[in-house]
Symmetry: C2
Subunit: 199 residues, 2 copies
């Protein structure tokens, strides 16, 4: 049931796992609570399904960008632009992503991390390893580390355009206007990364 999952994602993003109410989710989806329990074991199970679904959608959006062979520079530019656009367009997905890093999801941390981060880590590492080999990158350290730092920056960027706290934080660092000019932030970010790469 599509409607149900969308309702769940909205509710969980708005209230977090613990404060989300199953009855409110049912209302949002215009079904009765019972239905949720026909499809899912319990609240946790449903939450994980919502998270899974969100991440799948994010992955889809990213895949097209990443696959794009060729120019490292273009690839990064595309990546950053897509990321910011997605974060502004579907903040709920990213809020859920942030939610799983919090205390209420401790139980699932390991499994979820493996599931979510494995592919990105491989892709980025490969990207930078190649760039190093071909001498297109000044930074000569471990490409795994490079991938880690790069993804750290991307993650923070996503959160900064979707999660309440990180939004406020970005405004403090960069000024109130930045919120409404995501493209500018994107450009500066790309410039920053290029400096590191030495392109």
């Amino acid at each position: 049931m599509q409607r149900l999952m969308e309702a769940g994602i909205e509710e969980f993003a708005e209230y977090g796992l613990d404060r989300a109410a199953m009855s409110r989710i049912a209302d949002r989806a215009k079904v009765s609570v019972g239905v949720i329990y026909k499809y899912y074991e319990d609240k946790d199970d449903f939450f994980l399904a919502c998270v899974q679904h969100s991440l799948k959608l994010l992955e889809n959006a990213m895949e097209q960008v990443i696959v794009m062979e060729g120019n490292l520079e273009n690839c990064i530019e595309n990546l950053v632009h897509t990321l910011i656009r997605e974060a502004k367009e579907h903040p709920a997905y990213y809020v859920l992503y942030n939610e799983i890093t919090s205390g209420s999801c401790k139980k699932y941390a390991k499994e979820l991390a493996k599931q979510i981060e494995s592919s990105a880590s491989k892709v980025y590492e490969e990207l930078f390893r190649k760039a190093q080999e071909e001498g297109r990158m000044a930074y000569q350290g471990d490409s795994k580390m490079m991938a880690f730092f790069f993804d750290n920056l991307l993650m923070m960027l996503q959160f900064s355009f979707s999660c309440q706290y990180y939004k406020e934080r970005m405004k403090i660092f960069c000024g109130d206007e930045v919120e409404h000019h995501p493209e500018e932030m994107g450009e500066v970010f790309i410039g920053f990364v290029k400096t590191v790469l030495g392109v």
Copy 2:
């Protein structure tokens, strides 16, 4: 009451705001629940006090490093080393910090962000502005942005040595050993930042 607050910090770090139980906190502190309500309005009030207290301790640890005038390079090295050490030594403080970025603290996001991020943002911006003026830094973009990206990296580094999910994530990116060799990670991180700065 010192013991009470320590118990609170541990409990909130372990379970998150919503799943923490006041009765368990009382047990940990070896007092009865009633006592907590003699000192604090309600659970939220107590939680905020714990967060406040954690952040104060972190600030204290950082202040000494930041104040240290002179060499930008040394300053950054010190900063990174201190940060990693603190994150490993007092993970609970950082877990609480991460907790306030999650859904359960939405209400307080704006206020907390202002309180926590304002000083760091000023310090870093100033640091980089000076470095630019004195020609010790290759990156010539907006120093505010620079400060933002830099703090993003630091934040992720802190979380990566304290919060469950981020720990798992780091292991996926960098290998299982990294957890037990934080110094190495620190060195690589410093090298990475220096590349950006062009020192």
